[in-house]
Point group: C2
Chain length 459, copies 2
């Protein structure tokens, strides 16, 4: 390994941690309009760091009143060497329920070698480690073994509209040999991992309207259509107790993983009992019969309710039949499923299940197809090698049940392989209270990315 950069990485761990804390303190919740200026502040923070470390052409790209900025930067001084496009996101999920956090979500706290904060691992910590890996070379050697372009977004947690519009219009600027996404996790602690597949997502709001205004359930109970009852009927009609989704045609295009992939998954160190106990914590797992846990979470589509708004949910008793109720519902998609088709199928089935007296409306908040990446190219192989060098273990390939819409966008528009190197752990509480990032993974992640640049530069 290049001694100078790697010495820098090790000597500056404390400073990296302090910098990350500053970034984590900014409540850049992209989905909540009241945090708009904080989201912008996070973009400026990223841009300032990129400028200070010596990246060129650093730009905060505004997208208008409905968009959060993209941050773009480049360093193209490595002649005849490959060019990588590095992706991350600086926005975060809402932190609620707040009362379940041990320390406040935007006051980063270190406990037991972990840093706890909203965005710690998803994705501020992982975006920041890409930046610090680059900084090591620029500070110690004044240059990099490869050419780099950063494209960092602030809308990943709300659908990524801006980057979806930007990429197709700026193919020349974004031209690269491969993209690196640092927004995934390792299969197990200490096990270097590359993610080769992601599920897609259709996220919707399903609104049900009954009476023209809220009604007293004593006076009108028995004749007034109740939108909450309607949502319960529609939701339970959409997915059976056997975990099968009942939307006609929904499974039609589902592509099964290859035999080779399924075989590799069977060799991953997975203990279902321990998983149930430590990761889920319920009395039993659910889902479709005949599929393993990894298949159900990586290679099967889902239907999930995230919340139901409407009526009275405060303390005590209010006997209301609400005029309107809205459910947040998402579906995860697997390869070959077409988000547009799924929306059509779902909307048609909602109509079919809508009871008399109720009017329903579906709003699509975001949608993205699933993606799978071939492991058979030099950029993935070099990443596997870099990870193995740093973690001193053979790199494994996994899929993820989550969705990173940018993978499909980069694949479609730039026609380049996407390398998903991630350093999160399964118990990092993504999107949940007490989100954390394991600090040894933060530091090793920096080294692994640095090593990756080095390997690609030497080839």
């Amino acid at each position: 390994m290049s001694t100078a950069a790697f010495e820098y990485y090790r000597a500056n761990q404390q400073q990296f941690l302090e910098g990350l804390k500053r970034l984590l303190k900014i409540p850049s919740i992209s989905t909540l309009p009241e945090y708009r200026s904080d989201v912008h502040r996070a973009a400026d923070f990223i841009a300032d760091e990129l400028r200070t470390m010596g990246m060129r052409l650093v730009e905060v790209i505004e997208g208008g009143p409905d968009r959060h900025p993209l941050v773009y930067a480049e360093w193209l001084g490595a002649k005849h060497k490959p060019t990588l496009l590095l992706y991350g996101h600086y926005d975060v999920q809402p932190p609620d329920p707040l009362e379940d956090w041990t320390s406040p979500p935007f006051e980063p706290a270190v406990r037991n070698d972990n840093i706890y904060a909203r965005g710690a691992v998803d994705d501020k910590g992982q975006t920041y480690l890409l930046m610090k890996a680059v900084e090591g070379f620029l500070r110690t050697e004044g240059g990099l073994p490869v050419n780099l372009k950063f494209l960092i977004e602030g809308e990943e947690e709300m659908g990524g509209q801006h980057i979806q519009e930007y990429v197709p219009k700026h193919r020349d600027r974004l031209k690269a040999d491969a993209a690196v996404i640092c927004d995934t996790e390792m299969f197990a602690p200490g096990l270097p991992t590359i993610t080769t597949g992601l599920r897609g997502l259709v996220y919707t709001e399903l609104e049900a309207r009954g009476p023209a205004h809220d009604l007293h359930s004593g006076v009108y109970g028995g004749v007034a259509p109740n939108p909450l009852q309607a949502l319960a009927e529609i939701i339970s009609g959409m997915k059976g107790r056997d975990g099968k989704i009942r939307i006609p045609g929904f499974y039609k295009r589902v592509e099964k993983p290859s035999k080779k992939e399924l075989e590799a998954w069977r060799h991953l160190p997975f203990n279902e009992k321990k998983y149930l106990k430590t990761e889920i914590g319920s009395t039993a797992l659910t889902g479709e019969k005949g599929y393993s846990v990894l298949e159900r979470t990586w290679a099967r589509p889902t239907f999930e309710v995230h919340g139901i708004r409407g009526g009275f949910t405060g303390e005590g008793a209010k006997t209301v039949i609400p005029a309107v109720a809205t459910a947040k519902i998402s579906m995860r998609l697997v390869p070959r499923m077409d988000p547009k088709e799924v929306v059509r199928q779902y909307t048609a089935y909602v109509k079919k299940l809508t009871p008399r007296g109720i009017q329903t409306k579906v709003r699509v908040l975001s949608s993205a197809p699933a993606s799978v990446v071939s492991t058979d190219n030099r950029y993935v192989k070099a990443a596997a090698e870099a990870l193995s060098d740093v973690f001193r273990k053979k790199t494994v390939y996994m899929r993820s049940g989550g969705s990173i819409p940018i993978v499909g966008i980069l694949t479609d528009h730039l026609k380049i392989p996407v390398v998903m190197m991630g350093f999160g752990l399964p118990d990092d509480n993504l999107h949940a209270p007490n989100e954390k990032f394991h600090l040894p993974n933060f530091y090793r992640g920096i080294e692994a990315v640095g090593r990756y640049f080095e390997i690609l530069g030497q080839e």
Copy 2:
């Protein structure tokens, strides 16, 4: 009619309105702990008025830290005349959703002969009219044609725990020949009405627990039990699309109204089309086949969901599988159904419908049986006469789908007839935004109650 009291009623309408406005300005929301001191303020307001008008022994009865006060007062100077126990409540429902109010819920506003405020008709306006009817006699004649006891509570909207404990322990103090409850409505504008039956109520919270903490629906969707899905399954399993409640044994004890009562209901001026349009405002009515609208709302039990708490319901997209979700669910009961038995049947069926991986818990927030009142006694007959005298129309008898638990308590413990004279209108938006009280009914209500005293005093 006694000229002096009735002249006083007519000369003081503006002052009565101003007094009512002062009472309506107090946000005495009994169910929300943060309004505790406002609830007490409303009790003090009532007690002060009762004292000022000349009632004796006026008392604000504290019930300890978990109770809101009762207000008691008496005037027993009419020798050999009957004694009436007058009931009302000074607490109100929460006002949300706030954004749907044309004028703020605790800033009473008069528009088109209506006063708009939370509690306008339920039940501050109707409690206040009882007080003003009494005031008319005390101010002009220094006495009343009958003996009176007031018992006014502040927990009607949260289950009425205090009065339920108080009545059985104070039978001597509350001894009376009949009780008058002014907390119901008229069947139609201008049609004097006595309510002869009320549905009972079991109000519960149904909690469903799945994972130990909130989970990312991408990473865990497909295997993690979702409490919101579980609630949808349980709720839709409890009541069919045909409106039939599926809880085993639920209808077992349901008592049908008598043929005579059903026949009388058929002669009430009811237009289903107009009712659907002006009162419900949905595309269709729902409920059980084979029963008229009046039967479905007055004489059939119900199952209604009032709200579902848990997960994410803010703006935008959050992909969470919540650890816990809670539904507010109530059932209205009809005569002969036993609330305790209903709770047992419901709880057992919840357990039966609870899916794998989910743990459910039922909390009962309040419960009361239904009640029916015989029309065959002098106190009801005198009320019908008084109403007819003032409204110049034949008084009709109806039931109500709502619940006034105190009716059962007074019947059971004091063994006296309960007379429900009410002056609300079907479109008064009880428990909903823009609650109102029609001012001509407020003023005529005062006269009708005064006339009632007079008739009973003359007999």
